[in-house]
Symmetry: C4
Subunit: 125 residues, 4 copies
């Protein structure tokens, strides 16, 4: 377990925050999430750049994932340098100072029963 686990750059071409929800509470609110595992011994300083169809990219959004911790970050919660608009197609690039593993998940509760999607992100390098 001493070798590094993961890559320093990951891409997620799909991104969309459903603009409505039918569930109650934060857990069932529609959300778009990037799940980051930092299995290593050093904190990961992570920068996320968000790409759109028709304007220049937003970001970087900066977060820290401590050593041997996971963080499931909702795009809904990003505020600085600007919020991600709901109901709009985007993509993201996740760059870290140390190797991490990234998975992309959406919960969509626009209709009375929620839907889920998930995939390991694409490891760029």
């Amino acid at each position: 377990m001493k070798r590094t686990i993961g890559h320093r750059c990951w891409a997620i071409p799909e991104g969309y925050i459903p603009p409505a929800s039918t569930g109650r509470g934060r857990a069932l609110e529609s959300h778009e999430t990037v799940c980051i595992l930092n299995a290593g011994r050093r904190a990961a300083r992570v920068s996320i750049t968000v790409f759109f169809a028709d304007r220049a990219p937003a970001g970087p959004y900066r977060i820290v994932v401590p050593a041997r911790r996971t963080r499931h970050l909702r795009f809904n919660d990003l505020r600085e340098p600007e919020p991600i608009p709901k109901g709009r197609d985007f993509a993201s690039l996740v760059v870290s100072t140390v190797p991490i593993v990234v998975q992309h998940t959406r919960l969509d509760s626009r209709q009375p029963a929620l839907a889920l999607l998930s995939t390991i992100a694409f490891p760029v390098r």
Copy 2:
């Protein structure tokens, strides 16, 4: 961020446009999507070939994804050289002039609550 991000050829063996929808509006209409991220500095000229079970492939369908932009293209919207039939199994091959990253997503709203699936496509080279 100066190195290339992605591959020039991607495969998606699964493809199906659900032939019905229960949601209202374009956002909730059943759709099959290819999400393309072009994180590079040059526009991507993309050709999509669609394979079927029992006839010769269709295409190529040609689109452009500008530099540092994403495009979420619905197979439903393809018209030239021919529309993709609904309710029929297909697969696709996505070839680009520059490296891109590709993700496959379906929203199926045939029944009263929508369903989602998504996966990073297979990077051929």
Copy 3:
């Protein structure tokens, strides 16, 4: 497009045919599917071995995917050498005579609104 596309061996650790359905017709019947893309110029002779938790593997199940065609095969439809039991965990290994690309999809309509999952299979070699 002259080089080979894909691998000759793919693994799918997840497998489960939901034992009930609420939708009408074959399209909405719960099913577990392996989607195969043969983008090459020669027919693919494919052998599928199915693994279980508590008995010896079943198969091989043999199918052919013609050149430049896709085939979305339901595990529900396999009959020779034996049907796959519903409601039971399994996994599968897909071996081909020529390179192919494999994706795994499930439609689960046990409850009144269907659910979907999908992932590119794991390319063994």
Copy 4:
């Protein structure tokens, strides 16, 4: 089929046991699953470490997957050294003595119709 199939270390950044269910019986109870295929000729001794956002990792959880068998293990069922809390974000690292293939699946039945997600895990090495 004599060569090894898979890797000895896999990562799953996403993990969440939905804290409620609407379906009846074990099959429809919300669950988070790791599906392991051991296609080889030797038993796999597997250790799973679970990472959280705000505390030290739990585990290792130890299981055995016999030769040429699959095992779909629910995180819900883990008891030793401690149960995994429901409704809390986690991630996992799966390490095996022999090559295996790992897929991650969730069934979420908090709302009246179930939702599914699945992805091949990330092969670390």
